[in-house]
């Protein structure tokens, strides 16, 4: 258990260090995730304890956002001027982003499928 938690933390630390050393705008933990992905590929399987600890964390990922969400209260006054305009903008633009992203990816997947299909046929 401790080993599994340690490896997650070590990969996070590696990610944080790399991000700072290279000055790229990506969160350290995300780089840690990619590094761990690479390590798992090299190893060829997921160790049991690592799987268990990860599941425990990921099953409760929503809970982990609560403290940051409560932080909204500190800046609630910022929304006082023009709150409905902000709300409308956030809701509509987020929905547009969601839809455009899904449709673009869906479209590109079918293009790719056609292109690949064409190659094997021809």
């Amino acid at each position: 258990m401790i080993n599994a938690l340690l490896s997650l933390l070590v990969f996070q630390l590696l990610g944080e260090v790399l991000v700072r050393a290279m000055g790229v705008p990506i969160p350290g933990p995300v780089v840690g995730m990619l590094l761990l992905f690479g390590a798992l590929k090299l190893r060829g399987r997921v160790p049991d304890t690592l799987h268990k600890v990860s599941e425990a964390l990921l099953n409760n990922l929503s809970l982990l956002f609560v403290p940051a969400g409560v932080g909204v209260m500190v800046h609630l006054n910022l929304l006082r001027t023009g709150w409905w305009q902000l709300l409308v903008t956030v809701i509509v633009s987020t929905l547009i982003t969601l839809v455009v992203t899904a449709l673009t990816m869906q479209g590109l997947v079918s293009v790719q499928r056609c292109a690949r299909g064409g190659q094997t046929d021809g």
Binding site: L9, V30, L64, V74, L86, L98, V109
Partner: protein, 240 residues
Amino acid sequence: MGEPIIEIWVYLAQTPLLWLVTTIGVYQVAQALSRRVGAPPLLNPVLLTIVALVSLLLLTDTSYDVYFDGAQFIHFLLGPATVALAMPLYQAERKLRQVLLPGLGALVVGAATGIIAAVLIGTLVGLDEPVLRSLAPKSITTPIAMGVAEAIGGLPSLTAVLVILTGMVGAMVGREVLDLLRCRDQSIRGFAMGLASHGLGTARALQLDREAGAFAGLAMGLNGAMTAMLVPPLLRWLGL
């Protein structure tokens, strides 16, 4: 016998334990409540928990700093949990190879759409320029979004609030919107939710499907970098 209740409160209010326990407890109650009524989008457990906790803090006149002393232990786990997303990503590796190129295309288009839509709609409803600048990076994870806002002359603390709201929108209705689009591919569903609403969207995608969660985490990370790169040139292009 015993201490008067006020003294117990004074003791509890000073230890991190109280708000740590309250955060987890309220979240469990909110989850049970939401499930009992069939988990409607508007009764999202995270939203319920945040509203309940903010009310509780205001009622007891507790500052966010005191609250965070306890809640930081939960907040800290976000780092290792993000690293742990490597697990579902590893399990979805074959799928990842298949949709890598379409994903990268959707990343560029989606990131640009997020920025342009926010600024244009904000202009349309009459928001001021510093507010528009704070809106531009709202689809990405808080630390990067605040950094971007700062660099382009927005208000980082306003951006932090907008980022959370954006995440809540994706978490609350993402599933329903993607159902309406008849989008069934879990990798696409997850990618769209992670790109449009970062960590909160990722957490929701993960609850719905493991593969969707893996792709949401990936999209969240990639979009952090893509949006940070695209915001300055796109704002110039939009005349801001």
